[in-house]
């Protein structure tokens, strides 16, 4: 059985036996840093191409298929193009904030990467308040967006940024309440414990109806949080020019673009961890034989499979539904998603106390 745990353990042992502890720790940090940056780069490439191909298939056409076999190198070509573009700073723009904004959005995305468990024993930082940390740090990206809108010295950017800020802040409530539903069921904020509690089955199935409601609300809320269609009025390509990133070009635009897709990956990873068991294989209760067979598939494959399924779901939403107007967007959140998720939380607390789940 292929396991990433063996690789990380052996590397760790080798490091601690060869260098003194401080140096080994520093080298570990450097390795993790390169892995995280490498993951971002690869994810950016893969997700942008996946989006274009999935979009094309749903619109009965082919996607990019000329650059490389089946169009695999299209994103590489796009990245090269963006790198070679002139990064123009508009005339009256606040230079410091203008340059800082893409980095804040990117850093927030990178920070949320830390507690996510990619495979068994393959987690950068298993903090005991993992879920709270994720929820809190993902809110920091709103600052980057507002900064970008303000510093662009452009009224459309400002409008787009304000709308985006309002949207993200409101939908965080519903997303947070859905996350809390799972925390109530599993009894811990720590990511590794939440995954371990799904040993006998994923919470989506064990928590039956309330968990399914929480999952649906979570998916809708994170689609809105990452500014994806149908909630993308902030960056609506045909309506608000390009919202808060209108004035960005070249490498800075590439950072925003990349940060959007990384955010989609991260929220899907969180959703997969909480509702679909993270790297835990599909177990049914105490059926030892079946569970044993499921364990043969490596945990990293399980995790990536679930995350990419959720990413596909979010992409499916984008190419099916028309865009929501900003008042319809906020209406949906405050009048429908929030009351339903609060009521759902009460329901889940009830079934957790009475033990009415599997």
């Amino acid at each position: 059985m292929f396991s990433l745990e063996h690789i990380t353990d052996s590397i760790q042992q080798w490091l601690y036996s060869t260098f003194n502890p401080t140096m080994a720790l520093i080298l570990e940090c450097v390795i993790v840093m390169f892995l995280a940056i490498g993951l971002f780069a690869i994810l950016g490439l893969v997700l942008v191409l996946m989006e274009r191909k999935v979009a094309a298939r749903m619109q009965i056409r082919l996607g990019p298929n000329r650059v490389g076999p089946k169009g695999m190198f299209q994103t590489v070509a796009d990245t090269l193009k963006l790198v070679m573009k002139e990064g123009l700073t508009p005339n009256g723009a606040d230079k410091f904030l203008f340059n800082l904004a893409p980095f804040i959005v990117m850093i927030a995305a990178m920070l949320v990467l830390a507690p996510i468990a990619f495979a068994k024993g393959f987690q950068i930082w298993d903090i005991n308040i993992g879920v709270l940390y994720v929820s809190a740090v993902s809110s920091v990206s709103v600052i980057g967006i507002l900064m970008a809108g303000w510093a662009s010295n452009n009224k459309y950017s400002l409008l787009g940024a304000m709308r985006s800020g309002a949207q993200i802040v409101s939908y965080e409530l519903s997303a947070g309440l859905s996350i809390i539903s799972i925390v109530v069921l599993s009894g811990s904020l720590q990511i590794s414990e939440i995954i371990a509690s799904q040993q006998t089955g994923w919470w989506l199935f064990r928590g039956h109806i309330p968990a399914i409601i929480a999952f649906v609300i979570f998916i809708i809320a994170v689609t809105a949080e990452t500014n994806r269609a149908p909630f993308d009025l902030a960056e609506a390509e045909s309506e608000l020019t390009a919202g808060f990133h209108t004035e960005y070009s070249g490498m800075r635009f590439a950072l925003f673009f990349l940060a959007e897709y990384i955010n989609v990956f991260i929220v899907c990873a969180i959703g997969a961890t909480l509702f679909l068991g993270g790297w835990m294989p599909f177990h049914i209760g105490h059926w030892e034989g079946f569970n044993h067979i499921m364990d043969y598939i490596p945990s990293s494959v399980w995790f990536l499979g679930k995350t990419f399924f959720l990413i596909f779901l979010i992409m499916w939403f984008r190419w099916t539904f028309p865009r929501l107007r900003v008042d319809q967007l906020l209406n949906l959140e405050w009048k429908y998603l929030l009351p339903i998720s609060m009521f759902n939380l009460l329901l889940i607390t009830l079934i957790a106390i009475m033990g009415w789940h599997f």
Binding site: V54, R57, R61, L62, W316, F317, I340
Partner: protein, 158 residues
């Protein structure tokens, strides 16, 4: 009651969303229905619709005869003077002088493929062909003469 309306709203909303997703999902799992034609790889199998408007040509039959009487209806109908009819005077067997077509000058570089000339022609002498690859390096190659050399009006057209 408000609650009943609320629940009914939510239910109908979810049902309509799922119906939309079913449609796009239906297309996603059926790659055979993709309608993109990969030009220029498919030149051999390309099938253009019959009403495609490529360039104006004059139909000639097996005896190299056409149906153009030189009435200049097409030249009058053309919105930007793409067609110029040059007529000559033929002598009929009875000795009378009859107007006939000498040259049908057609400026392909000016043509907008609007089909007005084809509609104006009373004898259906011209039609729109299905060729669309008109790029040339020398503009003079786009000035065409539509009636074949040595062709004449088919008997019985007018």
């Amino acid at each position: 009651m408000f609650l009943k309306q609320y629940i009914s709203d939510v239910y109908h909303a979810v049902a309509s969303l799922l119906k939309g997703m079913k449609t796009t999902g239906h297309y996603f799992i059926r790659p055979k229905e993709i309608i993109t034609q990969q030009y220029p790889d498919n030149r051999a199998q390309m099938q253009l619709p019959e009403r495609f408007r490529g360039e104006v040509v004059m139909t000639h039959d097996d005896n190299n005869e056409h149906a153009c009487t030189g009435c200049t209806a097409c030249e009058l109908a053309c919105p930007n003077a793409t067609i110029k009819i040059i007529t000559k005077f033929d002598t009929t067997p009875e000795g009378k002088k009859k107007k006939a077509l000498d040259t049908f000058v057609y400026h392909l570089e000016l043509c907008t493929m609007c089909n007005l000339c084809v509609e104006a022609c009373p004898t259906s002498a011209i039609k729109m062909a299905q060729t669309f690859e008109h790029s040339v390096f020398d503009r003079n190659q786009l000035l065409k003469k539509l009636n074949n050399p040595g062709s004449k009006l088919r008997a019985g057209v007018e």
